[in-house]
C-alpha cells in the first residue's frame, strides 16, 4: 500500500442534531482531501451500499495555516466523535475517527497528512442501542462497574481490532461488517478522540509493533466481552500524550475490580498487555478520561431531560433515543467515580467547576452520577463486591458531598434540596426551551431566580406552582450579568447567541455559523486546556472563547455547546417556544413588582439613553408617577361611590387622571362607553421634549405629556438619525405614533413615522411590528396621503408571497396593483420574486436576492432557508451522480454580502465552507471527488435531507426578530453599552471573528459594515 493512497473512507454520522454545527472543513484541508481522496470512488460505493446513508466527513490534517480543529457529530444524542486535533507538524498523523463505525476502514501511515476515515453505518448505532437496552434490562451488572469494565475492554478490543489491520499493513476494510455482534462491540465506540503528540508518535511506533503481540489476547477479549456482556457504545481510542505523569498502574486496579467476575480473566489479559506496553495503556486510560471530560456539560445542570433521564434509568424503561443518551453517559459517569478512588489520579477533581478549565474530570459528572444513580451504584457495589467492594461505596458519598458543597451554583440545582414546587417550576421553565442554547441560558436565569429567592428567604415560602415563568431569555442576556463588558468578551458573547437566527439579514450565513461551531472547540480546550498541554495554536483557535471563558461565564456556555449536542433527542419533543425578548423579559421572570420592573427597565435603558438620568427625564418620570398617584388617589373615592353606580365609578377611574370630570361624575353614570365623545378627548399636546418613552396609555392622554406635531417631527428626525439600537427606536417610534393618534394627526408626518418604523422593523425582521405599520400605511395611503407607496406595495407583496403563502391574499394583493405601480422597480422586483417562488426557480430567486432594491432583501432573507432547502431537495432528486458544492454555493446565494453576483469559490473559500456547513446541517451527504472537490452525493442525500428546525422553516417574524433584536440580549447589551447602530455592531463582531478565524483581510469586513 502506498502512503498517499491509503487515505480513504468516510465518516458518517447521521445528523439528527442540526444545531451542532461542525467546523470540520477548512479551506486548505479541502485540497488535502482532494489529494488524498484519489480513491474517492470507493467511498462512493461504500456510500451507496449503506442501507442508511449517512453523512460523510473527512478531516484532514491541514498542513497549512490551520492550528487545529475539532469535529464532533452527534447522532441521536450520542456523542459520537470528538476528534481533537492539534497541529504539530505535517507528518503528524491526523485522525478523525467516527464512532459507531461498522466499517472502520482504517488506513493510515505516519507520514504526511494521513487520514483515517471510518465509515459508519447507522445500523451499527442501532445495534449498540439495542445492546444498551439489553444492558439496561440487566439489573445485575450495575452501570458503574459493568459499564466501566466494558469500556476498558472495549477500548482494548477496539484498538486491537484496528491495529490488527495496522499490523498486517493491509488496508482493506477490516471485516467487521461480517462479524456478528462481537465485531460490533468492537467498533461500537461512540466517541473517539485522538491526540497526537510529537513524542507520542514514537509510542505509536512502539505500539504498532506491540500490537502484533497483544493482538491475540485482545481478540480473545473481544469474543468474551461480546458474549458475556453487551458493550457500551463508548469512547475509545486515541493517541494521547502521556503528559500526565501518572504511571499506568493506578489505572489498572480500578479496572480490574470493575470487571464482573466472569470476565475477570479477560481483563487480566488486558492488564497484562497494558503493563507490557506502557504507552498503549497509558493512551487507553487517558483517552477514556478524555472522553469522559468531553461530556461533562451534559451534567452540569439538572434539566428536565436529565431528570427524566434519571427516571428512565431507575425504571429501566428503554426507549430508543433516550436509551442512547444514557448509553453514552453512563460509562463516563462511572469512570470518574472510579478515578476518584485513586487519589493521586485526579487531585483537582473536587475543587473546581468545569468552568475553571483546568480540570481533567468534571465534578459535575461525578455529582450527577452520584445523584442520578445511587441505586445503580448500590447494585453494582453489591454485585462487584467480590472483586473490590471498597471502591464504589467509599467514593460515592464523598463525591456527592463534594459536589454539593463545592459548587454554589450547582448546589441550586440539586433536587431534593428544594421544595417540590420549585423543582416543578424549574422543570416547566426548562421544558419551554426549544434548543440547548436557550436551555443553557434558561438555566442561568433560573439560577438567578433561585439565588435571588434564596437570598430573599422566599425560596421555601414562595409558591412556585403559581410562579409565572420568566420569558425565555437568550444566552446572552444571562451572560450579561456574569460578565464584565470588556469589548472582547462582549463581542464573543454577541457572536455566540445569534446562531439561532439564521434568517436575518444581519447574519449572513458565512459570518454567523462560525459562531456556533467553535463552541465545541472551546469546550474541549476548556476542559483539557490544563492537562492537554494546550499549545499556543490551540488557544489561538478557540481564541475568543477562551477569553470569554476566563471572563467567567463558562458554565453557561459549556452546557450550551454540549447540551445542544446531547440533548437533541430528548429535546425534540419539547415544543419550541418563542424566544423571550429582552432584558425586560428576564426581569419579568423575577415576577418583580411594577416598580421593580420600572426600575430595571430604567436601568436597562440607562445604558442606551444617556438622557435617562438627566433632570428632565427624572422630572418627567416623577410626573408620570404622580399621575398614577393621582389616579390611585381617586380610586378610593370611586369605591366610595360604587355602591350607587358602579359603571360610573369605573368609567371615572378610566378618565379621571386626564380630565377632571368629577363634576360630571353623576351624569357619567348614565352614559355608555360608546356614547362618550372620544373626539372630545382629542388633546393638543404641550410637551416640548423630543424624546419620550412609550408607555401604554391606561388613561386618557394628558396634554402635558403629549408632544405637538412640530415636536414630533423633530422626534422623528432624531430617531431617524439615531445611532441607537432597534429597541430604542421602536420604543421612540411607538411613542410618536401614540402621540399622533391621540392628537388625531393623520398626514404626511404620520405616514413618514409609520414608514420609518416599518423600515426599521423590516431591517431586523420584526414582522409583527412591520405588519402593524403596513396595515396602518395601507389605510393612510388609501386616504390619499402621500408616501412611498410603491416601496411599501413591494414589501406588502413580498410579505404575502413569502410569509403568508395564501393564494387568495396574493391574488388580491396582485390585482390591487395598478398599472403604474407595476412599473415601479421595487414592485417589479417583488413580482419577479413571486414568480420565482411559485415556479420554484431557485436560480432566479437568488439572483433577485442579490439585486433586491430597498429592503426587499430583508424580507427575502426570511425565505432563503426554505428556498434553499427546496432547491437542494430538488437537486438531490434530479442530479446524478453528484453536484459540486461550489455550484450549489453559487446558485443558492451563499456568499451573500459579497460584492459581485458571480463569486468564485477560489477567491472566497469560506463561501464554499459555509455551503458545506449548511448542507450538512440539512442532512446532505457530501463526498469528495477525484479532483478533491466537494460534491453533493445526490442519491444518498435524497433520502437523508431534512429541515433541521421548524424555526428555520417558519419565517416567523417575531421569532426570528426576537433572536436578534430582543432575544439576542447580548446584542442588546452591546448596543446599549455602545449605543451604536445594529449593523455596525454586528459587523464588528463579524470582523473580529472573521479576522481571527480566517485571516480574511479588511475588504470583506468593510463590506459587512
Amino acid at each position: 500500500m502506498q502512503t498517499s493512497a491509503d487515505t480513504r473512507g468516510s465518516e458518517r454520522g447521521k445528523f439528527t442534531a442540526p444545531r451542532t454545527r461542525f467546523r470540520l472543513l477548512r479551506l486548505g484541508f479541502l485540497k488535502d482531501v482532494s489529494e488524498m481522496m484519489n480513491q474517492g470512488g470507493s467511498t462512493d460505493t461504500i456510500t451507496s451500499l449503506e442501507p442508511n446513508p449517512l453523512e460523510k466527513r473527512q478531516v484532514v490534517d491541514p498542513s497549512q495555516g490551520y492550528t487545529s480543529y475539532y469535529t464532533s457529530s452527534i447522532d441521536n444524542g450520542v456523542l459520537f466523535n470528538s476528534t481533537y486535533q492539534q497541529d504539530q507538524r505535517a507528518e503528524h498523523p491526523t485522525r478523525n475517527v467516527q464512532d459507531g463505525s461498522s466499517v472502520p476502514s482504517l488506513a493510515s501511515t505516519s507520514s504526511s497528512g494521513a487520514v483515517i476515515i471510518v465509515a459508519i453505518s447507522s445500523n451499527l448505532i442501532n445495534n449498540t442501542l439495542s445492546l444498551w437496552e439489553h444492558i439496561k434490562t440487566q439489573t445485575s451488572g450495575g452501570y458503574a462497574s459493568g459499564g466501566y469494565n466494558n469500556q476498558s475492554q472495549q477500548t482494548h478490543s477496539w484498538n486491537d481490532g484496528n491495529y490488527t489491520s495496522y499490523a498486517s499493513h493491509q488496508y482493506p476494510n477490516p471485516n467487521y461488517p461480517t462479524d456478528p455482534n462481537g465485531a460490533y462491540n468492537a467498533s461500537a465506540a461512540t466517541s473517539t478522540s485522538l491526540q497526537y503528540q510529537q513524542h507520542y508518535n514514537k509510542q505509536w511506533a512502539d505500539y504498532y509493533s506491540q500490537t502484533e503481540v497483544s493482538c491475540a489476547p485482545g481478540t480473545e477479549n473481544i469474543s468474551v466481552t461480546s458474549t458475556s456482556n453487551p458493550l457500551c457504545p463508548i469512547p475509545v481510542t486515541s493517541g494521547y500524550p502521556a503528559s500526565i505523569s501518572q504511571p499506568p498502574a493506578p489505572y489498572i486496579p480500578p479496572w480490574r475490580p470493575d470487571s464482573s467476575s466472569s470476565e475477570l480473566p479477560s481483563v487480566q489479559t488486558g492488564a497484562v498487555t497494558s503493563s507490557n506496553h506502557d504507552g498503549y495503556w497509558n493512551n487507553g486510560a487517558q483517552v477514556q478520561t478524555h472522553n469522559v471530560c468531553a461530556q461533562p456539560p451534559q451534567y452540569q445542570t439538572p434539566n428536565p431531560t436529565y431528570q427524566s433521564f434519571q427516571d428512565q434509568h431507575k425504571s429501566a424503561s428503554s426507549q430508543g433515543p433516550n436509551v442512547q443518551y444514557p448509553a453514552t453517559h453512563q460509562v463516563p459517569q462511572s469512570y470518574p467515580s472510579s478515578l476518584q478512588t485513586v487519589p493521586q489520579n485526579v487531585p483537582p477533581l473536587d475543587s473546581r467547576r468545569v468552568s475553571q478549565l483546568q480540570i481533567p474530570t468534571n465534578p459535575r459528572i461525578a455529582s450527577n452520577f452520584a445523584l442520578g444513580f445511587p441505586p445503580t451504584n448500590r447494585d453494582s457495589s453489591t454485585s462487584s463486591a467480590a472483586a473490590k467492594p471498597a471502591y464504589v461505596s467509599v467514593s460515592l458519598p464523598k463525591l456527592n458531598d463534594k459536589a454539593l458543597s463545592n459548587d454554589n451554583a450547582d448546589s441550586t440545582y440539586k433536587p431534593g434540596m428544594f421544595p417540590k414546587s420549585l423543582v416543578g417550576y424549574v422543570e416547566r421553565a426548562l421544558a419551554r426551551c426549544k434548543d440547548d442554547t436557550q436551555k443553557a441560558s434558561c438555566q442561568a436565569v433560573l439560577k438567578e431566580v433561585i439565588t435571588k429567592a434564596t437570598a430573599d428567604g422566599t425560596l421555601n415560602t414562595r409558591d412556585w406552582d403559581i410562579e409565572p415563568l420568566f420569558q425565555l431569555p437568550s444566552v446572552d442576556v444571562t451572560n450579561k450579568d456574569l460578565q464584565s463588558s470588556t469589548p472582547t468578551s462582549l463581542l464573543s458573547k454577541t457572536k455566540r447567541s445569534p446562531s439561532r437566527r439564521t434568517k436575518s439579514r444581519w447574519e449572513p450565513m458565512s459570518e454567523m455559523k462560525p459562531v456556533d461551531k467553535p463552541a465545541p472547540v472551546a469546550l474541549h480546550t476548556g476542559n483539557y486546556g490544563g492537562w492537554l498541554h494546550s499549545s499556543g495554536s490551540d488557544k489561538k483557535l478557540s481564541g475568543v472563547k477562551l477569553e470569554s471563558k476566563e471572563g467567567g461565564l463558562s458554565g453557561v456556555k459549556f452546557s450550551l455547546a454540549d447540551q445542544r449536542a446531547t440533548n437533541k433527542s430528548a429535546m425534540k419533543p419539547v415544543k419550541r417556544q418563542r424566544l423571550g425578548d429582552s432584558v425586560d423579559a428576564v426581569d419579568n421572570g423575577d415576577a418583580s413588582s411594577d416598580s421593580d420592573k420600572e426600575h430595571s427597565l430604567t436601568q436597562y435603558y440607562s445604558g442606551a439613553i444617556t438622557l435617562a438620568n438627566s433632570p428632565e427625564e427624572r422630572k418627567r418620570r416623577e410626573n408620570r408617577s404622580k399621575r398614577f398617584e393621582k389616579r390611585q388617589g381617586n380610586r378610593p373615592e370611586n369605591n366610595h361611590f360604587r355602591p350607587k353606580n358602579v359603571g360610573a365609578g369605573s368609567l371615572y377611574a378610566r378618565r379621571a387622571s386626564a380630565l377632571v370630570l368629577s363634576k360630571n361624575f353623576d351624569d357619567g353614570a348614565s352614559r355608555a362607553v360608546e356614547d362618550i365623545d372620544w373626539d372630545a378627548l382629542t388633546v393638543r399636546g404641550t410637551c416640548q421634549e423630543i424624546e419620550k418613552r412609550y408607555l401604554r396609555l391606561t388613561s386618557a392622554p394628558d396634554p402635558a405629556t403629549v408632544r405637538p406635531e412640530e415636536v414630533l417631527e423633530k422626534a422623528l428626525l432624531m430617531v431617524q438619525n439615531s445611532q441607537k439600537n432597534y429597541l430604542y427606536k421602536c420604543d421612540q417610534l411607538k411613542s410618536i405614533r401614540q402621540d399622533l393618534t391621540v392628537q388625531h394627526i393623520r398626514n404626511e408626518l404620520t405616514v413618514k413615522v409609520y414608514e420609518t418604523h416599518a423600515r426599521f422593523a423590516i431591517e431586523v425582521g420584526d414582522l409583527a411590528e412591520y405588519n402593524q405599520c403596513q396595515s396602518q400605511l395601507q389605510t393612510l395611503y388609501a386616504e390619499g396621503i402621500k408616501g412611498c407607496h410603491m416601496e411599501f406595495s413591494a414589501y406588502n407583496l413580498l410579505c404575502v408571497i413569502l410569509h403568508s403563502n395564501n393564494h387568495r391574499d396574493l391574488l388580491s394583493a396582485m390585482s390591487r396593483l395598478s398599472l403604474e405601480t407595476k412599473k415601479d422597480e421595487a414592485v417589479k422586483h417583488a413580482l419577479a420574486v413571486r414568480a420565482a417562488v411559485t415556479s420554484g426557480n431557485y436560480v432566479l430567486f437568488f439572483r433577485l436576492y442579490k439585486t433586491a432594491p430597498n429592503l426587499n432583501t430583508c424580507l427575502m432573507d426570511l425565505y432563503v432557508e426554505k428556498m434553499r432547502y427546496a432547491a437542494v431537495r430538488s437537486m438531490s432528486r434530479s442530479y446524478r451522480p453528484t453536484v459540486p458544492v461550489s455550484y450549489i454555493a453559487q446558485v443558492l446565494g451563499f456568499a451573500n454580502g459579497l460584492p459581485t453576483a458571480e463569486i468564485s469559490t477560489e477567491k472566497y473559500p469560506y463561501v464554499l465552507e459555509e455551503c458545506v456547513e449548511w448542507l450538512k446541517a440539512h442532512g446532505a451527504c457530501l463526498v469528495a471527488d477525484n479532483a478533491g472537490e466537494m460534491q453533493l452525493d445526490t442519491k444518498t442525500s435524497s433520502s437523508t435531507l431534512y429541515m433541521p428546525e421548524p424555526e428555520d422553516a417558519v419565517a416567523h417574524g417575531d421569532a426570528s426578530f426576537g433572536d436578534l433584536a430582543l432575544g439576542g440580549g447580548a446584542v442588546d447589551v452591546a448596543l446599549a453599552v455602545h449605543a451604536r447602530p445594529l449593523p455596525y455592531i454586528i459587523s464588528l463582531v463579524f470582523v473580529v471573528e472573521e479576522e481571527r478565524k480566517r485571516n480574511i483581510s479588511a475588504p470583506v469586513c468593510t463590506i459587512l459594515c
Binding site: 396574493l810 391574488l811 388580491s812 396582485m814 415556479s839 426557480n841 432547491a871 430538488s874 459540486p884
Partner: protein, 413 residues
C-alpha cells in the same frame, strides 16, 4: 310616479295585507314569497309601494285588525322597506327589511312544517341583494359598506334556524349558497369553512337530499375554494359535479363553471377542445391551451399578461402560471422527438445548450444555470424521467416513458 288617490292607496294596502294573512293561514308558500320579494320589481309590489308613499299611516291600518297586527312586527318594517326601496333609499330599505326578516324568522321558527321554505329563500335572497345595493349606496356616499357583512351574519342566523332535524333542513343548503356568494363578494372566503364543515359533517344533513340547484351551486363554490387552495383533484371533482348537474340551458352558469374547470383540468394535464371555448365564450384560455400544445413558453406568458387582470380577478392566475412547467415539458419532449428522428440512439441525451437555444428562439432569455434549474424542477416534479448530469450538462432521459403523462393527477409538488 303615477298619482294614486288616497282611497286607491288604502285599497291596495288592505289588499296586500289580506293576501299576506291568507298566505300565512293557508300555508301557501309560493304566494307568500311573492309578497316578500322587495327587489323583484313586480307590478303589484310597485303599486303597493306607491300606495304606501301616499298613505302614510299604514301601521295604523295594520293595528286595526288582529289578523294583521299579529304580523305587525313583520309588516311594519316591511312596508317601510318597500317604501324606501321605491324611493331609492336602499340603506334604509335594507335596514327595515332586516328587521322585518328577523321577525319573520321568529314566526318561521314556530311553523312546524316547511311550507314557508320558499318564502325564506326569498328572504335570504332579498337580504343579500338589498345589502349589496345598500353597500353600493354607502360606498358612493363615502361611508363604510358594511351591510353585506351584516347580511352575512343574519344569514348565519337563518342557517341556524334551518340546521335542525326537521323537514326545514333541506333549506340549509340554499342559505349556505347565499352565504358563499356573500363571502366571495366580501373576500372573506375563510368564513365559508365553518358552514362547509357543518354541511359536510353534521349527521342531520344528507347531501343527496338537497335540491339539485343548491347542490350545483354548492359544488361550484366549494370547487372554487379548492382552486384557491390549489387542491386540483378535489376541485376537479366538485366542478365536474357542478357541470354534470347544471341545467344545460343555463349557459351562463355553465360558463362560470367552465371558467374554473378548464384551468383545473389543464393543470392535471387535460386539454379541452377549442370548440368548447368558443361555445362558451372562454377564448381567453385559447392561447394558454395553444401554448401547452406547442410547448410555446412565450405564448403562455403573453396570454397570461394579456388577460392578467381577468385571471387575477377570477383567481385562476396562479393556477395558469403553474402550467409553465407543463409547457417546458412539452418543449423538451419536442426536442426529444426531433433528436429521435435524427439519431434514435442518442435521443435520450439532451444537451443543455440545445434547450437553451430552443428557448432563445422563443425569445426567452435564460442562461444555462436557470435552464438547469428548470430541468431539475421538471425531474423533481416527475414531469420528466431521468437525471441531470451536472458535469457534462446533459439531461439523460429515461428510455422508458421519459415524459410521463399527468393523466388526471396534479403535478407533484
Amino acid at each position: 310616479m303615477a298619482y294614486v288617490s288616497m282611497g286607491e292607496a288604502h285599497r291596495r294596502i288592505t289588499d296586500y295585507l289580506n293576501r299576506f294573512s291568507d298566505a300565512v293561514s293557508y300555508q301557501d308558500g309560493s304566494s307568500l314569497k311573492r309578497l316578500l320579494a322587495v327587489s323583484s320589481d313586480s307590478p303589484s309590489l310597485l303599486s303597493l309601494s306607491d300606495a304606501l308613499n301616499v298613505f302614510q299611516d299604514a301601521s295604523r291600518l295594520i293595528k286595526q285588525f288582529d289578523k294583521y297586527s299579529q304580523f305587525g312586527e313583520i309588516l311594519v318594517p316591511l312596508f317601510r322597506s318597500l317604501q324606501n326601496y321605491r324611493l331609492g333609499h336602499l340603506v334604509e330599505s335594507y335596514q327595515s327589511f332586516e328587521k322585518s326578516s328577523n321577525a319573520f324568522i321568529q314566526e318561521f321558527r314556530n311553523w312546524e312544517s316547511a311550507w314557508a321554505l320558499d318564502a325564506l329563500y326569498v328572504i335570504a335572497y332579498e337580504i343579500r341583494v338589498l345589502a349589496e345595493r345598500a353597500d353600493r349606496e354607502l360606498a358612493s356616499m363615502g361611508k363604510i359598506p358594511e351591510k353585506l357583512k351584516g347580511a352575512g351574519s343574519f344569514l348565519m342566523k337563518v342557517f341556524g334556524v334551518l340546521a335542525g332535524k326537521g323537514p326545514k333542513r333541506v333549506g340549509a343548503l340554499y342559505v349556505t349558497c347565499q352565504l358563499f356568494k356573500i363571502y366571495f363578494k366580501l373576500g372573506t372566503v375563510h368564513l365559508c369553512r365553518s358552514v362547509i364543515r357543518s354541511i359536510e359533517t353534521a349527521r342531520i344533513f344528507d347531501f343527496e337530499e338537497f335540491p339539485v340547484r343548491d347542490k350545483v351551486t354548492y359544488m361550484y363554490y366549494t370547487g372554487r375554494l379548492e382552486v384557491f387552495n390549489e387542491n386540483f383533484p378535489a376541485a376537479d371533482h366538485k366542478l365536474s359535479y357542478a357541470l354534470t348537474y347544471c341545467n344545460p340551458r343555463s349557459e351562463a352558469n355553465i360558463r362560470m363553471i367552465l371558467k374554473y374547470l378548464i384551468p383545473v383540468k389543464l393543470s392535471i394535464g387535460i386539454l379541452p377542445e377549442i370548440s368548447l371555448l368558443e361555445k362558451y365564450n372562454l377564448v381567453e384560455y385559447s392561447n394558454v391551451i395553444q401554448a401547452m400544445r406547442r410547448g410555446d413558453l412565450r405564448l403562455l406568458r403573453q396570454a397570461l399578461q394579456e388577460h392578467e387582470d381577468q385571471f387575477l380577478r377570477s383567481g385562476v392566475y396562479l393556477v395558469l402560471e403553474k402550467l409553465e412547467l407543463q409547457v417546458y415539458q412539452r418543449l423538451i419532449k419536442k426536442i426529444y422527438i426531433i433528436q429521435k428522428q435524427k439519431d434514435p440512439s442518442k435521443a435520450h441525451q439532451i444537451k443543455l445548450e440545445v434547450i437553451v437555444k430552443a428557448l432563445k428562439w422563443l425569445e426567452m432569455d435564460m442562461d444555462v444555470d436557470e435552464v438547469e434549474c428548470i430541468m431539475s424542477i421538471l425531474i423533481y416534479k416527475n414531469l420528466m424521467k431521468g437525471y441531470f448530469a451536472h458535469k457534462s450538462k446533459v439531461v439523460v432521459l429515461s428510455k422508458q416513458d421519459p415524459f410521463p403523462k399527468l393523466n388526471g393527477k396534479p403535478v407533484n409538488s
